[in-house]
Symmetry: C2
Subunit: 258 residues, 2 copies
């Protein structure tokens, strides 16, 4: 995944890099890592509401998973709960923060300031969750030099300098698909090791670089798939009405019958 590894989102990201050396360092499974961010969000919410202790059951509910999965996930970080009691909200928050490497606010570069890029530049969620947008970069002359959310847009030719000057390890790519691989190459050679890609393209990167992608249309397509299935199945339709159990027209759009 990411690296296309997925996010499963999604989707996936890539992975790789073969083996883990014997010296196992508590490797946290990928699926777990993806959920830690959600747990963290839930914990912060609880903390703000003054909750000091939480059980796996309620934290799981707040995060939208089941409690067994939550406990198993947390167990990869170590043993921070108290039997019979639950988890201390601040201890666990701290621990997940540390695991995710969010202790220092990480500097992020945002490349591409079209509609999406501009929206991302103003997204408060980045700042509040551990990231500082340290540079805005675009290739369009009309944009370069303008100020946006407190930063001056810089030209993509400055990219390498900026990355080095600001010690940027993570970049967000929001350029058109046609430009994405080029931007990606520049980022990689400037030393960026993690990329969040919004362009609908597969990026080729060396194995030490991690790419996660967010493909908005793909998300809708996945929903569409399930929706398609649903509408062919009367049973699921809500208990309330009469169920018309009429058979599905075999005209099939639904699946494959093999």
């Amino acid at each position: 995944m990411i690296a296309q590894r997925g996010q499963l989102n999604a989707v996936g990201a890539t992975v790789d890099q073969r083996s883990v050396p014997a010296t196992d360092q508590r490797s946290v499974p990928e699926a777990t890592v993806a959920r830690l961010a959600t747990y963290l969000r839930a914990l912060i919410g609880l903390g703000e509401h003054g909750v000091a202790t939480v059980s796996s059951e309620s934290l799981a509910t707040a995060a939208g998973v089941n409690s067994a999965k939550l406990r198993k996930d947390l167990s990869y970080l170590g043993s921070y709960g108290v039997r019979g009691v639950g988890y201390d909200v601040s201890v666990l928050t701290e621990q997940i923060n540390k695991t995710l490497g969010l202790h220092q606010n990480r500097a992020v570069a945002l490349i591409g300031l079209g509609h999406l890029g501009q929206a991302l530049a103003g997204y408060a969620g980045f700042a509040s969750r551990g990231f500082r947008i340290a540079a805005l970069i675009d290739a369009h002359p009309a944009l370069v030099g303008t100020r946006l959310h407190g930063l001056t847009v810089q030209h993509v030719d400055e990219l390498a300098d900026i990355v080095r000057r600001e010690s940027i390890a993570i970049a967000v790519v929001a350029v058109p698909a046609a430009a994405a691989q080029d931007v990606c190459d520049r980022l990689v050679s400037a030393g960026v090791t993690s990329i969040l890609n919004f362009a609908p393209t597969v990026l080729n990167v060396p194995s030490h670089v991690d790419v996660r992608k967010v493909d908005l249309a793909a998300e809708l397509q996945i929903l569409s798939f399930h929706d398609n299935r649903k509408s062919g199945r009367p049973e699921c339709a809500g208990a309330l009405g009469a169920e018309q159990s009429l058979a599905v027209p075999s005209t099939g759009k639904v699946a494959v019958v093999r």
Copy 2:
């Protein structure tokens, strides 16, 4: 209680479907569904370049996966390749389109027209990949009535009417976290069955409704985790006991192990 199906990016989605109806319809695994959208994108690109036939090897490269996985994925749709030759681009494109339910352009409602919502409203990728934004909805009086990308913004109180009038099954939620559950409830009661949620909140929905979430900060946090590992972290969380709580200057790039 509300059932919910959450899914994480790459993984995990829903469940269900227990029964295996005799008429087995080879249900497509969730992980496969998530990749079909990527294959489709790659196929369309190939088609536009005039490629008529493609091997699993090259399609896989274009989609950023390995060929065994691609073939296995495609095999769930049926048998559309030709041994010794490869896949016909248009046949396969068509087939994936059908599987994803993209035959009819699906009407989508977009709720929330802040920065992100406005960017999404103008995102060409939706239209080109099977979706038609049929309604823009917001609660803010200053926005309601304005025109945006050819549509007039409507008030959220009209939501139920709009959904019914336009036969909307899929909605994109881009409102602030605090408003998301309320909007979601309205959508569900109006009959929407699939929701793409950009608000950083867990949505509670009945089990016949599907929610996918896109959490931008979470994506960065996942990258941060891997990045943290890459740069070699002095403190190993966990298991072995006491952690020295003193903060270590993270500047150090310690040797990577791998």
